[in-house]
Each structure stands twice: as structure tokens, then as C-alpha cells.
């Protein structure tokens, strides 16, 4: 169970949010531009520090203001897929997927197994030797997802993973995300603007405006 309860003074408003996401479930964060959705992901990843509060993934306390716990970004074990996928364009697809495992010094046999496994699952094995800068947008999203999942994260976070994808790729990437989260039984936060995406993949949705939750409900009640 992922628990987030933190506040942060931003330039225009104060973000004060409490969320909970169960293992194997996807919570969709929705709201207008600048509502604070990406800030929640960045606070969770450790790329920003909250002013107060507590963030935990169930396996680990990432941040606890009172106990002065602030786990470094590298040790949080979170799979974070950025909006533009941020695949490393100078590396092959294989090296992209293996990057997190190499960084964590996973032994070479396990590294090869896990990399091959996630490339198989996301159907990118045939691209293994291709330089990641030369693949399509949909393929980049799959590489980014495989790269995040190969590290066995305690939480998966995706920031607008469907933008810049055509309809077929959107449907495919939605399916991959659901597959990853359900199979691995990890909580997932997904930021999107599109209610159709939320309906397709979300178990719950959280509407955010100016740093506050204005609606937090089960998908069935909203759609």
C-alpha cells in the first residue's frame, strides 16, 4: 500500500494532499495544468522535498518529516516514467532496459535474465540492438516502462504516458501498464489529462486543483 500525505509550498499555492493506493491498483491523477499532479510524483520520487508529511511505499518509508527521514532518490526503488519517456537516445534498447540493474550492481546473470524477460513482455526484444534515439514514440514508452519495471520497483509512476502516441499505441501502452501493475502487484500513480485513459486503466481517480484533492473516488462512481 502506497501512502502519501504531504504538503509543499509552491509558487502560486500550497499543495496539501493525502492519497492511498493499494498494491496492484492504478490511481489516476487528473486536473488542469499546474494543479500539482506532477509535483506529487516528483515529491514521491525524491526530486522535490515536502515541507511536512510522510510518504511510504509499504516496504519503505521514503520521507517522514518528524523522524527526519528523507530517502535519497537513488534508494527509493520507484519506477518513474517521464512524460517524454526519457529513453537514453545514445544507448541501445537493451542497455536502456538494463541501465537500472547495472546501476544497482545486479549480478550479470540476473541482469541478463531480467532484461530479456522485460523486453519479451513488452515485445521489444527485436529492438534490443537498436539505438533508442531511432525508435518510435510508442516503442520509447515501452522501453521506458520495461526499464522501470526491470528494477522491480515498489511503486510505478507514469507522467502522461499517452501523450504524443497515436490511438493504436495508446491502447497498447494502456494494456502494458495494466499488465505490469496487476502482475507485479505494485501500486501505480498515473497522471493524465484524458478521462478516457482514466476510465481504461484507473481503479480510482483523484481530481486535483491548486494542490488540493477535489474528488477522490472509485472509477465506477465517476464514469
Amino acid at each position: 500500500m502506497f501512502k502519501f500525505s504531504a504538503s509543499k509550498q509552491l509558487r502560486d499555492f500550497s499543495l496539501d494532499i493525502s492519497l492511498q493506493v493499494a498494491d496492484g491498483e492504478i490511481m489516476v491523477l487528473m486536473g488542469g495544468n499546474g494543479a500539482g499532479k506532477t509535483t506529487i510524483l516528483r515529491l514521491t520520487a525524491g526530486l522535490l522535498t515536502p515541507d511536512t508529511g510522510m510518504i511510504e511505499t509499504g516496504k519503505k518509508i521514503l520521507y517522514h518529516h518528524q523522524s527526519k527521514i528523507n530517502c535519497p532518490v537513488q534508494d527509493r526503488n520507484i519506477g518513474y516514467v517521464f512524460q517524454n519517456a526519457a529513453v537514453f537516445p545514445h544507448m541501445s534498447v537493451y542497455d536502456n532496459v538494463a541501465f537500472g540493474l547495472r546501476a544497482r550492481r545486479v549480478d550479470s546473470l540476473e541482469l541478463a535474465d531480467r532484461t530479456d524477460e522485460w523486453m519479451d513482455r513488452l515485445a521489444i526484444s527485436d529492438l534490443a540492438a537498436v539505438r533508442a534515439g531511432h525508435i518510435s514514440g510508442g516503442q520509447k514508452q515501452r522501453v521506458a516502462l520495461a526499464r522501470a519495471m526491470a528494477t522491480k520497483p515498489d511503486l510505478l509512476m507514469l507522467d502522461e504516458p499517452f501523450t504524443a502516441l497515436d490511438r493504436n499505441n495508446q491502447i497498447a501502452v494502456r494494456e502494458w501498464i495494466c499488465l505490469c501493475v496487476r502482475e507485479q502487484k505494485i501500486p501505480c500513480l498515473l497522471v493524465t489529462h484524458n478521462p478516457a485513459d482514466a476510465e481504461a486503466v484507473g481503479d480510482s481517480v483523484c481530481l486535483i486543483d491548486r494542490g488540493r484533492v477535489i474528488e477522490d473516488d472509485n472509477m465506477r462512481m465517476l464514469f
Partner: protein, 267 residues
Amino acid sequence: MRQKIGIWFGKGVGAFLILIVCLFLSLPLIALLLRVTPELLATYIPNETVQKALWLSITTSIISMAIVIFIGTPAAYFHSRSYYPGKSFVDTLIDLPLVLPPAVAGLALLLLFGRTGLLGKYLNVIGIDIAFTTVAVVLAQIFVASPFYIRQAKALFEQLDPAYEETAKTLGSSSLRTFLFIILPLCATGLTSGAIMTFARALGEFGATIMFAGNLPGITQTMPLAIYAAMQGDFDVAITISVLLVAISLAIMLTVKLLTDKWRYNV
């Protein structure tokens, strides 16, 4: 019709101006190359003065470039990633050698490292003399050429999408690993062209070197200084060295062009 005449007139003026620029830049080089014959090159390239100057220029320029890369790359990275008081002053300081007359740079270096200079007087006590040595040549080259690399590196690091760095960190990569395996390769093309431009500037350095290092054959007499010395003696030597410098400069510019065209990642 009148509009068509206007367009053709505009195009004609543009072509004429481009022609003037091209002539102005190429005619002096053509004049130089017209004086060269294969016999002249065959006679003077093995000349001791030419050989010494060529060897000294290339070795000192490579050393200067290596020092600038080694210190300038991490310095530019930290500068681009941090906010500190006086940052804009540091920006100006980095750019200053670009507009400072090299003779002034040479004089300033002499007043710092000379035997009675600000630092030189202390170095002299422990037996270290820098002015009028090969070390002085390298220091003068670093002073005038470093902005070509550091400015470029700073701009590249600032323009790089932070998502790459942040993704690497969320994947467990240390700051050093992220710098070595993500940031440096993504900026490699620009850094390489910056380094080559630094080498080229160091190779052509004259003013600061003659003021700070002097003009001692085999010790501080680089190719531009050897041209200056030969002008008062053997004019053919000056022409031979000049042609060598033109050839090296052209090769450098072509290399930069090829690298920037070929190594562009589809980011």
C-alpha cells in the same frame, strides 16, 4: 512586374554582399597559397625552426586542451546546475578572455607569475620559474582558449532535458555514474567541437604568449611566433609555417563540421 524587379534586385544585392564577404575571407589565403610551391614546402618543412615550432605548438595546444577539458567539464557542470551568489559575475569572468586583448592577458599573466609578480615572487623562493618557459606557453593558451570550451559546455548542460538525469537517478544511478554515462555522452558532440575549437584557438595564440612566454626557439616559440620571427629573416619559412597553420585550421574546421553532422542523436 515592379514587385518582381524588386525581388530580383533584393536577391542581386544579397548575392553581391555574400560575394564581397567570400572574397574578403578567401583572397588573402589565395595570395598566400599562390606563393607556395611543392619545392618550397619540401625545402622548408624539414627546417629545424619549422619542426621545433610545429612540435611545440601541437604538444602545448594538446596539453592546454586536455587541461581545459579536465577542469572545465566538471566546473561547467556544477556551474550550470547550481545557484550561488555571484554566479553572473563568474559567467562574465569565464567570457572575459574572449574580449580581452591577448597582449593584455599576457601582461596580466606576467604580473601574476613573473619573478616579481603577485604569485611569482613566492614561487621564485621555492625555485619555480614560470614566465618565459613552456609552462607559460600552456598557461597563456589556457587563458585565452578556455572560454571556447567552457561556454559551450555550460550551454550544453543547461539545455539538456533534466528528465534524462532524473530518470537515471530514479533508476538508482549515482550522480557520478549519471554524469559519466548519461550527461557526457548526450553532450559529447558539442563538447568535442568545443574542445577542437579550444585546440584551434590555442594553436593560433600569439599575443599573450609573446608577452608572457617570450619567443625562445624550441622552448616558447610556437608557430605563430615563428612566423613573426621569420618575417624579419627568412620570408619563405614564414610562408611555409603559415601554410601549415592554414592546413591544420581547415582540417580542424572540417572535423568539427563532420562530427556535428554525424554524431547528432535523435533526442
